[in-house]
């Protein structure tokens, strides 16, 4: 077994902004701007960040739902960046995605049974309708739905049930890797917990690897072994989830953690929100992207963009300084 199921190296996804009569490219939206990471087989890899930081684009690019602008994606030892057509179809089978909005990610005119069977027919996994049907019913049962619901339409279900259908559909191809793109953010809290438990038990049962995209830190903490923090198209910190939460090294991660409201009125003072807005991904600031909102920023941060550096073992940070956040002081410069 390969240790790293997915390795992403220097991935870029820039969306061109066209304007004018001839559609000349005026500028680019740098949704994903030089990202490298790897996902180990069998783990849940979290990606967290504010809205618009490129985490969804990253997830879609990793499974090649959109073509990367440059960089490479290596899936269990094989470079799939340039694969197309039939060869890519084999890999599409192994990599699935569950979308954020279960209300919109199912064809409203298709029964859920036929939605679950469709991928099996496309990839020729079943011999006939009967086999597909029995497999679909098994999947419905596996995600906690009644197999008798086979012939119902999506609008007859609640959001949580629809998300279960979406999961069953992703599972119908026996994938190895699933990108979960905020799978619970449009659901009620109680339903969120059910879906998260379902996802965890499926991962154990079917030996799946997840890439879990979310802006909800509590969910990330619950689900993920390792977590990457994204800011404006780049990963600013990667570490084991416990270390991200207990010993964050990047000022943005710290700010993100501090902005979570705590259910304790005495601790209200601790709630610190970040000042300012995320800069536009079209006009990315020079040097460090976070410097405009960072209270530790210096001239060095404006001059030179920091690179991802392994500050401790398996703890990577993209910052010029090693900051001691309890004393609010810079310890030392870590980039040479």
């Amino acid at each position: 077994m390969v240790e790293n199921l997915i390795e992403v190296k220097d991935l870029y996804k820039w969306f061109p902004i066209r304007s004018g009569l001839l559609g000349r490219v005026k500028n680019y939206v740098r949704a994903v701007d030089g990202v490298s990471f790897s996902i180990k087989t069998g783990e849940t890899f979290g990606v967290v960040g504010e809205s618009g930081c490129g985490k969804t684009t990253l997830g879609r690019t990793v499974i090649k739902l959109t073509e990367p602008t440059s960089g490479s994606i290596i899936y269990s030892g094989r470079d799939i960046t340039k694969l197309k057509g039939r060869k890519m179809k084999e890999y599409k089978k192994k990599m699935q995605i569950v979308f954020q909005d279960p209300y919109a990610s199912l064809d409203p005119r298709q029964t859920i049974g036929s939605a679950i069977m469709e991928p099996m027919f496309i990839h020729g996994l079943v011999r006939d309708r009967k086999e597909a049907r029995s497999k679909a019913e098994f999947l419905l049962e596996q995600v906690g739905l009644n197999p008798d619901h086979f012939s119902r339409f999506p609008h007859e279900f609640s959001g949580g049930q629809r998300q279960r259908v979406a999961i069953a559909r992703a599972l119908s191809l026996n994938p190895e890797f699933i990108v979960l793109d905020e799978p619970t953010s449009s659901l009620d809290v109680s339903v969120q917990a059910q879906i998260l438990n379902l996802l965890s038990s499926l991962r154990r049962k079917l030996n799946l690897t997840y890439m879990f995209i979310s802006h909800n830190l509590a969910v990330i903490r619950q689900m993920c072994q390792r977590t990457a923090v994204m800011y404006l198209g780049r990963i600013v910190e990667i570490a084991e989830t416990s270390r991200i939460f207990e010993n964050p090294k990047h000022p943005y991660t710290v700010a993100l953690l501090k902005s979570v409201p705590l259910p304790d009125p005495k601790k209200r003072k601790m709630l610190v929100s970040l000042e300012g807005d995320v800069p536009s991904p079209v006009n990315v600031p020079s040097g460090c992207r976070f410097r405009a909102r960072c209270k530790y920023a210096t001239e060095l941060c404006a001059d030179k963009a920091p690179e991802l550096i392994e500050i401790e073992k398996d703890h990577w940070v993209e910052c010029h300084y090693d900051i001691d956040f309890s004393r609010e002081a810079k310890v030392n410069t870590i980039t040479a």
Binding site: L65, D101, S105, E156
Partner: protein, 303 residues
Amino acid sequence: MNQAQSSRFQEARYAFYLFRRNPVVLAGAIISMAALILSILSPYIVNPSLWRITDLTKRLCWNNHMINWGIRNVFDCGGSTYILGTDSYGRDLLKMIIIAIPLDMQISLEVVFSAVLIGVVFGSVAAYAGGIIDEFVLRITDIFLAVPGILLAIVMMVILGRTIPILTFAVLVTWWPTYVRLMRSQVLSEKEKPYVESLKAIGAGRFRILFRHIIPNSIYPIIVQATLDIGSVILTVSALTFIGLTPSPLLPELGTLASSGAQYVFTAPWLTIFPGLAILIISLGFNLLGDGIRDVFDPRLRR
């Protein structure tokens, strides 16, 4: 009854309920149905043995005794023998109208079906392919939309000749661009929906996505428009034949009948009134039915 049937059955029943609760729509449905049934039954009502002669000149009723050709019956004002009276040639107006309705319906259905077909194919391909193909299809529809429809039809008929097929073709030429536009806009909004993305993720090809998912999801406005247009095409066709673009002034066709009756509007008003009423009722019926179908499929009125 298994689940599939019950689920679909409920949908159908609910649609029928929405339909039934509105009496105006029900009236529209009944009129449209009646017009269709009359079109089918027409040859059995008016002398079926002679109806098989498809030759148009035979239908024009020279020497055709089924229309009751005879000088002694000229301008019968209706009542016992001839319910709606007779025209200047002594032809029975009721029988003429019964023959005329299928002809108008046929032209109208041909035009609408062809326009829908062209619209669905070109509109969806243009929207789905995008880029230069989209631009090309759009510019062609622009050219046709730039010329006023009736004028284009008149010019075509004057140049190509005054026959029924050319009349049909001329109306179709003015009618298809709307459907291409409508289908294109539907597919454009449909193809951006998240379920299309999730179909791509499961590896569905572009043809499967377009024909199995996007087109069935965007066809409803087209069906509504088509139903509304069956009435409108009848109106346009009879307008064209009324102003004289008819193969023969004796042709049993609603516009032609009204037109030839208009000469005697003071002496024999029924010759204009009854064909005109037939046009009015049929086009009104299809318009009401179209409105009803729109209500049934309108998501805002659903659960």
